[in-house]
């Protein structure tokens, strides 16, 4: 695509010359680097609750963020108005970080190489609203039909299309058109009107076209999964308390990697020496069975990007190889200061936010064990298949993730379901106790949102069935 055909040139009459002018303005007081991030985001969402389509919302936000970097310092300003005077004003505000003679930029831009990971022809919101409202209605019906104990269903569908353009003082220019769609279903079930209810949740999607919900993962798929979880919980007993062997099922339990190692390997923390993983490159931080990858290049995944939010093509990065710490997740600022290459992990929530190193899709490579054999090998422990959220203190390395569906393992067999409980461990230690890795790697269904310093971005996770010999489970049963 040439610049003149791009969304922002076409829609707002921007020229390459304008971009050069704005970048020159941004570097008018000096500085090593400047960039402009143009964003146009159109969203829509539909919600059903109690069988009634109660909400339908659409919206548009638009703006540009201007960043100036000088050494370790960043100046940032943004405008929700793309008029030349407003962009220039933002550039002048961002320039306040630097104090010196103007930095001259070379003229002309070269377009960055980017992947083609999501269908560019159709975006989710090119399907009519009437077609999309069917998704939530179908989910509502399917969840209710699953079991007569289901008594409340909330289903929602949301999609967005983000148009992005990044122009840098290095002379690079990148465009991307990023679709996203997600369904989610919340179900409540109870034995009768007097008994206490239980809750189930499922959802998924990605950077997909809408035939995904028609052909691959249907509304019924998510509805039945949410209803199944709620029904299972009706028979759950109290979760155990204390250290035990934990087996994680494949897929979404990969949130373990996101919390235990992913955040701690973000380059900003390591550059500053504030991560429990700081200075540990080349050291053993996990069992030799563990190889952990962050990969922004998987087709149609929620965490994937053709180019990151600094205009750098995403890539597949090895974080831990056979238990040895190999690399960090880099953005432009940290990679420049650490004299490393950017890894395509510079991301931001919107034009109002300063980019920083973030994960994309984080997963563990498959091992060789048979998943059934893994469960069979455990005399007494916990098998966790579904999780809610998680959190990590990157400095101490302590992390928590919350199991919402788990089963006791007794003499190699899954016996009773147990109620929700938090699991806690320490990042550089927890994966050393991994003693079996299954051959059944699965990625999650596409519902992850990662928060860092107030910025939320979509991410993916994945893991095969994994046995961890020792982990602390926060239940109440002795």
């Amino acid at each position: 695509m040439s610049f003149s055909q791009s969304f922002f040139a076409d829609r707002f009459g921007l020229t390459e010359h304008d971009l050069e002018n704005y970048l020159s303005e941004a570097l008018s007081a000096g500085g090593d680097y400047a960039d402009l991030y143009f964003e146009y985001l159109a969203t829509s969402s539909i919600g059903i609750d109690e069988g009634i389509v109660k909400s339908a919302t659409e919206g548009v936000t638009l703006g540009v963020g201007v960043r100036v970097i000088t050494g370790e310092r960043t100046g940032y300003a943004y405008s929700d108005d793309l008029s030349p005077e407003k962009i220039r004003k933002a550039a002048r505000v961002a320039a306040l970080i630097a104090k010196g003679p103007a930095t001259v930029i070379k003229s002309g831009f070269e377009e960055t190489k980017r992947h083609n990971l999501y269908a560019m022809l159709h975006s989710p919101n090119e399907m009519t609203l009437a077609e999309r409202v069917e998704f939530v209605k179908r989910a509502d019906l399917a969840a209710r039909a699953y079991d007569k104990r289901v008594f409340q269903v909330q289903a929602s569908y949301a999609d967005s299309l983000r148009q992005v353009m990044v122009a840098t003082s290095d002379g690079t220019l990148s465009f991307d058109r990023q679709p996203m769609a997600r369904m989610s279903v919340v179900v409540l079930a109870r034995e009768n009107a007097e008994s206490s209810p239980q809750h189930g949740y499922a959802g998924g999607g990605g950077r997909i076209t809408l035939d995904f919900f028609l052909n691959e993962k249907t509304p019924e798929h998510f509805a039945i999964e949410a209803a199944r979880q709620a029904i299972v919980q009706l028979g759950a007993i109290d979760a155990p308390a204390g250290e035990t062997t934990v087996v994680l099922g494949p897929g979404w339990p990969g949130i373990l990697l996101h919390e235990a190692v992913g955040h701690g390997l973000e380059a900003d923390f390591n550059r500053k020496g504030t991560s429990a993983f700081s200075g540990k490159i080349g050291q053993q931080v996990a069992s030799p069975l563990c190889t952990v990858i962050d990969d922004g290049t998987i087709h149609n995944r929620r965490g994937s990007l053709n180019v990151d939010d600094e205009g750098v093509a995403t890539q597949k990065n090895v974080l831990i190889e056979n238990g040895i710490l190999r690399g960090y997740l880099q953005d432009k600022l940290s990679s420049r200061l650490m004299k490393a290459a950017p890894s395509g992990n510079g991301r931001r929530e919107s034009y109002q936010h300063i980019p920083m190193p973030r994960m994309t899709n984080t997963y563990m490579l498959a091992g060789t064990s048979d998943p059934e054999e893994i469960v069979k090998s455990v005399k007494k422990g916990l098998y966790c298949t579904t999780f809610g959220g998680g959190q990590v203190d990157i400095t101490s390395g302590n992390f928590v993730f919350s199991a919402t569906e788990s089963y006791l393992i007794e003499d190699g067999k899954l016996t009773r379901p147990v109620r929700g409980a938090s699991l806690i461990g320490n990042g550089p230690e927890a994966l050393k106790y991994v003693s079996m890795v299954g051959r059944d790697l699965q990625l999650d269904e596409g519902m992850g949102v990662c928060g860092k310093e107030g910025q939320s971005v979509p991410v993916g996770v994945g893991i095969p069935t994994v046995k961890i010999d020792k982990m602390t489970v926060g239940g109440t049963a002795a």
Binding site: P197, A239, T395
Partner: protein, 454 residues
């Protein structure tokens, strides 16, 4: 009264929606300017300054008791942008379902508090950037030089924000208010041997004059980080648990979720159907009050245009009221408590005003003194309460209480119980209530929870 420019736009949008076929409409506008200075290791790390605006509209189409709803928003406040927004909402209303409980509040319920809530201090918009940077630098400097074991820092920041929120609806309401806030925080890192621990302290207020001093913020943050060093992992056991105000606040947030009308009408709360019943110990009184001048949860009217008020939620252990907006109140056959809350568009949810636990008489030291062995929780991570079942499980760090005194730090443990039982087992409520945000609690002690550790 003359309308200001944004009020006029909001009123015009409501009128425009009705002219295009809406039977009712409500419009929210907001504008804000933010400033943020971050320093780290005595140097400026980033400066950010910008402003933005947004508009949202919600329309209702059809006759009263049989209305459909559509919503939209935009950051483009040009005439064309706003017109597109109104038309999009009307188009969206076509695909929703008639909901007999949807609809605006009655005109008689609308209103604004007449008193000065002191939400806006003009000085915040005029604060000198260098002064703000210096505050952050000072807080970090104090933390870094507090103790040789403070070896690093995630930095300190000074943030400020001024904004205006406008609301209008087709029942004749037009109102707006300005607000300001500023805050200073610092995150020092303590190190001993190979182990690092970080903690933070934060102060925020509607005006700079009401902030704690940078020295105080730096000192407290450093003390907190230092006292976490050499933490142990204790054995799994059941003991009394004391939540300091910072963590008690998170617990109170879980109580808010359980009295939120949206959870109540769906039977998605362990407190559904319990109005008038004793659900907590007699030491617990929980209030929601959006009328207290200067606090972060205060506002003259809620996000549906109802006058802000004070609601007693739990009185000496008895559940007195849920927190409701118009919709959830209608679903439950009750009256709104003026707690409607939303971003810029969409159906209103339920949000807190100043939601707090009334202070008790004992100081934290007196509470701790009565415990022979227990946990003092200074940080909660991950997890929390399940509103549907009341099950509670969270990661925690803190200090171990031995013979009535804080003895040594503990970490990498979880605490668990069930909120239904935890509420009944609140044995002490501290005298140390402070408003650091819209949800505030003094120190709380719960008779027994399960600690998972070694």
């Amino acid at each position: 009264m003359a309308l200001n420019d944004l009020e006029q736009i909001a009123a015009d949008m409501v009128q425009r929606a009705c002219a295009l076929g809406a039977s009712d409409a409500e419009c929210t506008l907001s504008e804000g300017e933010e400033f943020s200075a971050a320093v780290r290791m005595r140097e400026v790390e980033s400066l950010k300054e910008a402003g933005s605006r947004g508009a949202g509209i919600r329309v209702l189409v059809g006759e009263k008791g049989a209305q459909k709803t559509g919503s939209s928003y935009t950051s483009d406040l040009s005439k064309e942008g706003l017109e597109k927004m109104v038309r999009a909402a009307l188009e969206l209303a076509k695909i929703t379902t008639v909901d007999p409980f949807a609809g605006l509040p009655e005109a008689s319920e609308l209103g604004k508090l007449a008193i000065d809530l002191q939400l806006y201090d003009a000085s915040v918009a005029q604060m000198d950037a260098q002064w703000k940077i210096d505050q952050a630098k000072r807080a970090e400097e104090v933390a870094l030089s507090f103790d040789p074991r403070i070896t690093n820092s995630e930095g300190a920041s000074f943030d400020s924000h001024v904004g205006r929120r406008v609301f209008a609806n087709s029942r004749g309401f037009v109102g707006s208010y300005q607000s300001s806030s500023c805050g200073l925080s610092v995150v020092p890192i303590a190190m001993e041997g190979e182990k690092m621990e970080r903690d933070y302290w934060h102060t925020s207020a509607r005006s700079a004059a009401k902030l704690e001093s940078a020295d105080e913020v730096g000192r407290i943050a450093a003390q907190r980080a230092i006292r976490r060093l050499n933490a142990r992992k204790v054995p799994t056991q059941k003991v009394p648990v004391v939540f300091e105000p910072r963590t008690a606040r998170a617990l109170l947030g879980d109580i808010f979720d359980a009295v939120n009308g949206s959870s109540i009408y769906r039977h998605a709360s362990y407190l559904a159907g319990k109005l008038g019943e004793t659900i907590a110990s007699e030491h617990l009184t929980v209030i929601d009050d959006a009328t207290i001048p200067g606090l972060f949860g205060s506002c003259p009217f809620d996000d549906e245009g109802l006058t802000s008020r004070r609601t007693v939620v739990i009185e000496r252990g008895v559940l007195k009221s849920y927190l409701l907006n118009t919709y959830t109140a209608r679903k439950l056959g009750l009256r709104s408590t003026g707690n409607a809350s939303r971003g810029i568009t969409g159906n209103a949810g339920v949000g807190p005003g100043n939601f707090f636990i009334e202070a008790g008489k004992q100081t934290p030291a007196e509470i701790i003194k009565g415990i022979s062995s227990g946990l003092y929780v200074t940080e909660l991570i991950g997890g929390g309460g399940n509103t549907v079942t009341g099950d509670y499980s969270s990661g925690a760090a803190g200090l171990w209480i031995e013979n009535g005194e804080l003895a040594y730090p503990v970490s990498e443990i979880t605490i668990a119980g069930n909120m239904k039982q935890m509420l009944r087992e609140i044995e002490h409520v501290g005298s140390d209530l402070e408003f650091r945000g819209s949800v505030a609690s003094p120190t709380l002690m719960i008779r027994e929870m399960t600690i998972s550790g070694q």
